[in-house]
Amino acid sequence: MGTVLVVAEIQKGAIREASFELVAAAQGIDGAEVNGLVIGSGVGDLANEFASKGAGKTYVVDDAAAENYNVDVWSKAIKAAAEASGADLILISNTPTGWDVAPRIAAGLDCAFTSDCIKASAGDGGYDFVRRVFNGKLDAEVSTTGKTVATMQPGAMAPFEGSSDGGTEALSADLSAGARFVEIKVAESTGVDLTKADVIVSGGRGVGDPEKFPEVIQPLADALGGAMGASRPVVDAGWLDHPYQVGSSGQIVAPKLYIAAGISGAIQHLVGMKASNFIVAINKDPDAPIFEVADVGVVADLFDIIPALTEAVGGAKG
C-alpha cells in the first residue's frame, strides 16, 4: 500500500485550492508516494505547477476531448493514470466534478469507495477516513480494504504549501465518450444582493411555513436595517426565490451580523456564511452543527425569540 494519485481540478484557468488540499491529505498519509494527475486541453504549464507544488510525479492527459469536463473522458483518464502509477488510493475533491466521476471509477475498478471525507490516513490493508453523515450531525469512522477511491470535502484541511520535483509524464488514453458537453450557463444577476448587506437574518426549514418569512423573519431584518436570507430547502420548496439562498449553491456572504434561525448548519450552508463577522444561531436542537460556527447561540423556539428580538431592537432604536 502507499501510492496515492491526486486528481487536480482546474477552475478559471488555475488549479483550484481544493486540489492542493488533496495534496495535503495525500502528503499526510504515512509513507505514501504521491502522484498527481492533470486533465484538460493545453494544461502543460498547470501540470508542471502541480508537479512542483507537492503532487510529485504528475501525469498529464492533454487532449482537445478534455477541454471541458466530461464524465466519460475523466473516468477513462483517471483509470489510465491509476494504472500507470500503480495507485492504491485515488483522491478527488467532493465537488460537482468529484461526485459525478469518482463513484464511477470505484465501480469500474470494483474497489472500495468513500466520499466527502475530512481526514485520511493509512489503515490496515486499506485506508482510514473520517466523514460527516446525517448532514453534519454525526461523524463516521470508515475503513476500506484494498484499492480505494475517496473524495475529500473542500475546506476540510489547509492546502499543501511545500514543494516537490516529480516532473510530468504525458499519458494517452481512449477518451471516447457517451455523454456530450454542450455549454455552461451562468445565472443572470437579480435585484437581491445579499453580499452587500451588513446584517442578514436567514430562516431555514425550521421556520416551517412560507407565510412566516414575511411575518417573522423579514421584520427582524428590517428592524436591523438588513436583508433576509434562507437555506436551500426554503428555496427548493418555492417559499423564496433563489437569490435569497445562502450557501455553496447560493450566495457566499460575509455581513457584520448573520442571524441563522431554524437552520441546522449543513456544510453547504456553512460555507456560504461562516466568514460573517458575528454569527447568532437560534435553534431548538442543542446539538445542531450550526452552534459550532456561531459566536452566540440560543437554544429555543425561534417563534419565541425572533418576534421579541424584533420588538426589543425597535425599542432600542427609540
Partner: protein, 261 residues
C-alpha cells in the same frame, strides 16, 4: 420507454438521532422514516415523463427491510405503476458498491431505458450509488441534475455546478440521471392515488432472485463503518441562557456592541 426510479427510505429529517448499541449506526427502533428528499424529486421527474406520454411504465425500486414497503406505497400513490422491493437480510448494511450492484441487477432484469436516482441519501450522504449503477450498466450518467429535456434523441440535462452555474450535457439513451433537490415541485399522493396504490403490485425479491447473492451482500463490503458519534465540540458558540426577555436583552447588548444599533 421503461423508467426505473431508485428510492431509499431514510430516517425522518426531524427524527432523534441516537447511536445504536454497537456504535456503528443510529438506533432505528421507534423513529419515523420517509422517502429520501432527493428521491421525491426523482419520482416526480419520472411521473412527469409518464404524464407527457413519453414513459410507458414507471417502476420504483428500493432495497431495505419490511418498513420500506411504506415508502414504495407512497410512490405508487403518487402515480408510479409498479414497485420492486429487495428485502434480504444479507443486503442490510451493504456498502454503496454492493447496493449499486443490486440496483444494476434490477435495472438489467427490467430492461430499463432510463434510471433516475437522487443526488444523495439524507442519512449516509454518500452521493455514491447513482454513478456506480451507471458504470455497472455501461450507461452514460449525470448527477446534480436540475432540469431535463427529452424532446430530442439524446436527453439534455442541466447539472448544478457551484456559484449558480449550470452545465448542459447530452446523454444518449439508455442513461442514468441523479436529481438534485429543487428540480421540480413534488406532487402529493392523492387519496384516490393511495386507494389505487393498494392494488398495484409490489414484487419482493431476494439477492438470490437477482443472481447477486455472491457478489452484493454486506459480507463482501470493501468499505466498513467502524464507529459513528456526535462530532467532538470545537470552538462552540457561547450559549445564552435565561428567560426569553433575558436572552433577547443579551442579544440586543451584543448587537449594540457591534455598532449596529
Amino acid at each position: 420507454m421503461k423508467v426505473m426510479v431508485c428510492l431509499k427510505q431514510v430516517p425522518h429529517q426531524d427524527a432523534r438521532l441516537d447511536v445504536n448499541a454497537d456504535g456503528t449506526w443510529i438506533q432505528e427502533d421507534n423513529i419515523k422514516f420517509e422517502i429520501n428528499s432527493y428521491d421525491t424529486y426523482a419520482v416526480e421527474e419520472a411521473l412527469k415523463l409518464k404524464d407527457a406520454g413519453s414513459a410507458d411504465e414507471v417502476i420504483v425500486v428500493s432495497i431495505g427491510p419490511d418498513r420500506v414497503t411504506q415508502a414504495l406505497r407512497t410512490a405508487l400513490g403518487m402515480g408510479a405503476d409498479r414497485a420492486i422491493h429487495v428485502n434480504d437480510d444479507a443486503a442490510a448494511g451493504a456498502d454503496a458498491l454492493a447496493t449499486a450492484k443490486i440496483l444494476a441487477a434490477v435495472a438489467k432484469e427490467e430492461g430499463a431505458d432510463l434510471v433516475f436516482a437522487g443526488l444523495m441519501a439524507d442519512d449516509d450522504n454518500a452521493s455514491a450509488i447513482p454513478p456506480m449503477v451507471a458504470e455497472l450498466l455501461g450507461f452514460p450518467s449525470a448527477t446534480g441534475v436540475l432540469a431535463t429535456d427529452f424532446s430530442g434523441d439524446a436527453v439534455k440535462v442541466e447539472r448544478e455546478l457551484e456559484g449558480g452555474a449550470l452545465e448542459v450535457v447530452e446523454l444518449p439513451k439508455p442513461c442514468l440521471i441523479a436529481i438534485q433537490s429543487g428540480a421540480n415541485q413534488v406532487r402529493y399522493a392523492s387519496l384516490k392515488g393511495i386507494m389505487q396504490a393498494k392494488k398495484k403490485p409490489v414484487d419482493v425479491k431476494s439477492l438470490a432472485d437477482l443472481g447477486v447473492a455472491d457478489s452484493a451482500s454486506a459480507a463482501q463490503n470493501k468499505t466498513k463503518i467502524n464507529k459513528i458519534y456526535v462530532p467532538p465540540k470545537g470552538d462552540s458558540a457561547e450559549i445564552l441562557s435565561g428567560s426569553t426577555d433575558e436572552v433577547v436583552g443579551q442579544l440586543v447588548t451584543k448587537i449594540k456592541e457591534l455598532g449596529l444599533l
